[in-house]
Symmetry: C2
Amino acid sequence: MSDAQTVTAAALAIGDELLSGRTRDKNIGHLAELLTAAGIELKEVRIVPDEEDRIVDALNALRQSHDYVFTSGGIGPTHDDITADAVSKAFGVACTHDADALALLAANYAERGLEFTEARRRMARMPVGSKHIDNPVSRAPGFVIGNVHVMAGVPSVFQAMLDNVLPTLRTGVKILSEKVSCPFGEGDIGDPLSAIAKAHPDVNIGSYPRFSGDKFSTEIVIRGRDQSAIEEARLDVEAMLVSVEATLHTKAV
Amino acid sequence: MSDAQTVTAAALAIGDELLSGRTRDKNIGHLAELLTAAGIELKEVRIVPDEEDRIVDALNALRQSHDYVFTSGGIGPTHDDITADAVSKAFGVACTHDADALALLAANYAERGLEFTEARRRMARMPVGSKHIDNPVSRAPGFVIGNVHVMAGVPSVFQAMLDNVLPTLRTGVKILSEKVSCPFGEGDIGDPLSAIAKAHPDVNIGSYPRFSGDKFSTEIVIRGRDQSAIEEARLDVEAMLVSVEATLHTKAV
């Protein structure tokens, strides 16, 4: 799953609306960015509908092969919010109203003069043995069980919960990266870049095409744990770009 | 996998950059929207890194349990573009330079006065037995093998390829939907909405919370294949909202 330097994670976004196109997911990219910055490698993402079997299967696959799993969505008060039940089933434990969560929510709704409806009580349900993830935005907590962190789908709530979760996680050695902008398309640099990648096995060189409508350009990203190895690769990439430019210029003349 | 009315699909987005947070995926939401409009149900999405084993495993899982699979990313000319190899491995066939794709690309680069480099020749590689997916944007074709459609990751190219693929697909009965905007949070409507959902088993009622910074509201979406069943559910939802408003107003007075 991981060595001392590497901590891995997977994400599971839950909700019919993400698969019907009604809602564009905003949590995965945010999670990816914050995990990378923290030194945790996001290795897989899945999006599944509000169907218990699919949630259970995906969660069990992901939690067994990654250090951490982060879920988003399906923990609200309505009938289609089934994440707490599915997570409980995946762990083989009961899903019950958590006493602390009930007390927290009861106090919150009393303070706001709102009725503590059965629907609102649903938000206190979680797998037995869970710990809360504080929700400073709308109070109803997320929860952690085993290596699984269950958070809301509403982006502002997801982000606030993630901010509370991040300091509690074990992190690996951060992946450092350097970016080199390349004005040529991948077809012009693919061969020499491949040679550079082979010559620098300690770094990972990614090549990302951009298309402006009439012309391709490329962003080259060099990643690794050792800054000097990255620097050496970067110098080779920059020298390669000068050489490609000269070649293209010669042909154009 | 599907009955006569239902056609299912899965998506597999491939690329380290999607998992590091460097790039926010723009293809999944677009695909979801167009498949739904066409009457194809997107049932699962996975995002995996540029690692052959992970691509192969995800692809084999998804293609066996859905009518169609759509992949994005990893078919460019650089060393980190390994999708064609991984798809070939998943199908147990050789990955070779396709003669038609080589001819197409050779002519295209000759016309543009560009060298047909080894890197550019990489873009003609595909599993033996594949058919092309035309790429009107930058020429290098995607490909179809079995029920798997392999497309580019650059959004403009992905979209153009998808436009060419959609008319070739078998489609199911379209899912119709009606939207009801609800000014109350899910906690206020969760109980009666759950009762309505139970009373209308022929439709699927989704409830999507919105948070403005100080107040929750909800979008209620009623989906189904029968317009009159949707209408009946919608009338019940609207009557419920009037009743909830009266209750909340009475309490406020």
